[in-house]
């Protein structure tokens, strides 16, 4: 198949949103609400109806800033502390201020949140300092609600198109994107004044311990395309070395989920049934204590619930087995794990990039703008730490409204036809071969090597060796074969994964200190070095196409944090373990 034999459809829009999971739809909705005359289009690799992290709904809001429970200032402080001081507070504040209005908006659209008898939101405490969790025991309908609103506002949706590269004009402004149909391999070039990237986490980076390529914590469609596209477009990516690593149900690799069970009295325990961490909120420090417990021989680590009352356990089961990851119940059944009698065995997930849970993302300011004019990033792939689902909605909304304003004063940029030709040639290369290496085996090897060389504790010599192995795989790309559109889709994803592997290694080597607990634990640089590294790191493609790095200062805090408060998350280990109840 020659590139020219493939149909290339070219269309024009004002705003192109790439990724129709959580933040993407909200960006489209808020852009349309800001200016109904704008043409807004969502390009989604899967089907907007059931795509992304919340395909089945969600168990709760993990970071709701609700009046009476927390102020935006308190939230900004909590996240600053949880993320070891490396935050762009303006962006976290923009989220915090938008949090409650977004909850009310979603509520109005029909998303169900838990309320008490008098109709007030039923907030629960999970974080170390404040109260931010709002359960959604009936949170199945989020995607339906979003979809209805997209239809109502006449947002154009193109399902089963995977965006592969962004297009830029000669002045550096965004000009659109190119996508490939995952079922026909047809190309779609979308010219746009503004583009919002909402492609989720890079969740297919490390290999799950089960060895099953798609048994990831994240929805495996989120394989890092967004990170790769931003990188190739010259955008800066921030703090990628602050990996996402989660405490999960062993083998099943989904949340167990301490946020749901914690407020009911469930907790993380060691093999003696004892607590060893004070707070189950996911942070690098929490993961470090988790890892130490496993290393110390006190493992396995469990989520313990057998001390709870029958009614409580029944309630937990209803939430956990019907909502966000409903196959959890099936998994437990086969292994005879009943919360009443047996704790749930947990382990440490594979590594990935995600700012929804951690802090690795494309650099954005408080308007969700990246460093490329006209290009926005929202949700898990945008560098606003610990942003979770509500953050994807709020920052998505901010991006949509800002992009609408941007369109009013910026005409379409023109792109270079040479870029389209180069991209179609790159995309189709694996279809021109009949013999060679399959996408699966190349992906498996890349991800297995990610585990071998990049997992924390991070060792300089290992990471450098990893880089050499990734370079060898890159040479092997000349052998990559795709025999049908589905395989081509996987072959393209595999290349995004390889890009992310290179970025993870380079970013981790650049920051020569340890920070964020387990996320960036460097054996050769075990101390936190606030003199040299109390800053963001950014990674980008330089003018000569090389991977480059820079430090970026942390802007002066808008919410001051006292030095003695800064270490609150460093004291998560329980001093004298309590006896099991």
């Amino acid at each position: 198949m020659a590139a020219s034999a493939h149909r290339i459809e070219i269309i024009e829009t004002d705003i192109l949103v790439i990724g129709g999971g959580t933040g993407g739809p909200m960006a489209a909705i808020k852009a349309k609400e800001a200016d109904p005359s704008l043409r807004v289009m969502v390009m989604e690799k899967a089907n907007v109806k059931r795509s992304g992290a919340i395909s089945m709904g969600m168990d709760g809001l993990n970071n709701a800033v609700v009046p009476g429970y927390a102020t935006p200032e308190q939230y900004v402080k909590e996240i600053t502390v949880a993320n070891d001081g490396i935050v762009n507070q303006a962006a976290v504040m923009a989220y915090a201020r938008g949090s409650f209005p977004m909850i009310q908006y979603l509520d109005k659209l029909g998303v169900k949140f838990e309320k008490d008898g008098s109709g007030e939101y039923n907030m629960r405490k999970v974080h170390h300092l404040g109260t931010y969790v709002l359960p959604m025991p009936e949170g199945h309908n989020v995607k339906k609600v979003l979809y209805r609103q997209l239809r109502r506002l006449q947002v154009a949706v193109t399902n089963r198109y995977m965006a592969t590269r962004l297009l830029k004009g000669p002045d550096g402004r965004i000009a659109g994107a190119i996508g490939v149909n995952t079922r026909t391999s047809e190309f779609l070039v979308v010219k746009a004044k503004s583009v919002v990237l909402a492609c989720g986490a890079a969740g297919r980076l490390g290999l799950p311990a089960s060895g099953y390529l798609f048994g990831t914590y994240e929805n495996p469609a989120n394989c890092g395309d967004g990170y790769a596209m931003a990188y190739h477009a010259g955008a800066q990516l921030a703090n990628l070395e602050c990996y996402q690593i989660n405490p999960l149900i062993k083998d099943y690799n989904g949340p167990s989920c301490a946020y749901v069970t914690g407020p009911f009295g469930g907790y993380t325990a060691n093999n003696r049934g004892e607590r060893f961490i004070e707070c189950d909120y996911w942070s690098g420090q929490m993961m470090l204590e988790f890892w130490r417990e496993l290393q110390s021989g006190n493992g396995p680590v469990f989520l313990k619930m057998d001390h709870l009352r029958e009614e409580t356990i029944a309630e937990i089961e209803t939430i956990l087995h019907t909502n966000e990851r409903p196959s959890r119940g099936r998994f437990h059944d086969r292994r005879g794990t009943d919360y009443r009698h047996r704790p749930v065995e947990m382990h440490i997930s594979e590594i990935g990039f995600c700012s929804g849970h951690s802090a690795s993302g494309v650099w954005v300011d408080e308007h969700a703008r990246t460093t490329v004019p006209g290009l926005y990033a929202v949700g898990d792939m945008a560098g606003v730490p610990h942003n979770y689902m509500l953050g994807a909605f709020v920052n998505g909304g901010i991006a949509g409204a800002d992009a609408a304003a941007y369109c009013a004063s910026n005409p379409l940029a023109s792109y270079d036809q040479g870029d389209i030709d180069a991209e179609t040639a790159r995309v189709l290369a694996p279809t021109l071969r009949t013999d060679g290496l399959t996408p699966h085996e190349m992906e498996f090897k890349t991800r297995r090597l990610v585990n071998d060389y990049l997992d924390p504790p991070k060792v300089t010599a290992k990471m450098k060796l990893g880089q050499r192995r990734f370079a060898e795989i890159r040479e092997d790309l000349d052998l990559l074969v795709a025999r049908d559109p589905h395989e081509l889709h996987r072959a393209l994803e595999m290349q995004s994964i390889l890009d992310c592997a290179d970025m993870a290694a380079a970013a981790s080597l650049y920051r020569t200190e340890s920070r964020w607990g387990f996320y960036h634990l460097r054996v050769d640089h075990p101390e936190t070095d606030d003199v040299n590294w109390n800053c963001h790191t950014v990674l980008f493609k330089d003018d000569r196409g090389r991977m480059a790095h820079a430090k970026r200062e942390v802007d002066p805090y808008i919410v001051p944090v006292a030095a003695e408060d800064m270490s609150a998350y460093h004291q998560l280990r329980i001093k004298t373990p309590e006896a099991a109840e």
Partner: protein
């Protein structure tokens, strides 16, 4: 290098007796976020074509006739 085919068990099972793909239903194929389900053109029934499942269950929940059963893939079961 020539390419060989390897087999694995299908964790997602479709009950042919219940599946109404022959009447044009494509719901499970449409909603699967990993695009791993397909319709067998000869039998006109849905089936799991690729072993790339996230055991997320939209296919099962959205099927109008309850024909789909999602099992946890063997490697992690």
């Amino acid at each position: 290098m020539p390419i060989i085919t390897q087999s694995s068990s299908a964790a997602v099972v479709i009950d042919d007796a219940k599946c109404i793909a022959e009447k044009g239903c494509r719901v499970c194929v449409d909603v699967c976020p990993l695009d791993i389900l397909a319709i067998d053109e000869v039998r006109q029934k849905a089936y799991m074509k690729y072993d790339e499942c996230w055991y997320c269950m939209p296919c099962e929940v959205d099927c109008p006739t309850n024909a789909v059963k999602v099992n946890i893939p063997y490697l992690l079961r």
